[in-house]
Symmetry: C2
Subunit: 152 residues, 2 copies
């Protein structure tokens, strides 16, 4: 629903700022907990999660960039750091322009599995427990509406 | 409402991931628009906004860190970059342990004012226009519930 007026109202802006700021506080708290509990950053966790869910635990770097929603250059730098920590392996593919294939390595699989319960516990304590069932459903609806709008 | 079970259900996790991922897409799109339209990063904008709203357009760095929700070290690095671009000034205060006083400089005031309309337009187009009035109210309620939970 495009509206005619040009700028958000004061109430709309208040919701936006509350939404933005709360999301930042939530991400920062979760990142601190994840790092302290598991030694993984949220970026590490996002890559390991995507590879864990990928067919054969491997993905082209171009596909992985889409899955985690990052620019190729950011992904490439981060994968370099994860490779040095033996969490993932890169298998170069000279014949293929879609980039190297990224493979979940044994240490990455182990770190991801060890992180799962602490991470999910933190998500429950910081996010799920904050909301009533109705609020949780509303959060899902809001996210879906935003996603569908932004995908256009 | 603490619940007895330990891990989130599949549905709760689905909402969490959708909420997290949509927030990231939204922030990335807004950051790209802000940078392209105004030459300011979201971090620049957050600092300029906080100083614009502060009494006398100045704040102690410790208070500014609270206002923008960052660690002191992150704020300090960022303020160094903003000072070199003459967007802000730092006035050291040897007698005061709360840190330097940060002052909105003329170029910062000008950049912030020039950014306001493009930024608010982007917030309307990317966030407000995505949601029905009921969804917007629900987003505000969800954010307030999260904030109140996380502040405890």
């Amino acid at each position: 629903m495009p509206r005619k007026r040009r700028l958000p109202t004061r109430d709309e802006l208040r919701v936006w700022r509350e939404f933005l700021e709360t999301g930042e506080v939530l991400r920062a708290l979760l990142a601190t907990r994840l790092q302290a509990d598991t030694g993984l950053s949220p970026s590490d966790y996002a890559v390991l999660l995507a590879l864990s869910e990928a067919e054969g635990n491997r993905a082209r770097s171009s596909d992985l960039a889409t899955l985690v929603g990052w620019e190729r250059s950011r992904l490439s730098h981060h994968l370099g750091r994860m490779e040095r920590r033996t969490l993932i392996r890169r298998e170069e593919c000279a014949s293929d322009s879609r980039g190297a294939e990224i493979v979940l390595a044994p240490a990455g699989r182990k770190a991801f599995h060890a992180a799962t319960v602490p991470h999910l516990t933190a998500v429950r304590e910081l996010f799920v427990d904050a909301l009533t069932p109705d609020q949780l459903a509303a959060a899902g609806e809001v996210a879906a509406a935003l996603r569908s709008h932004l995908d256009r």
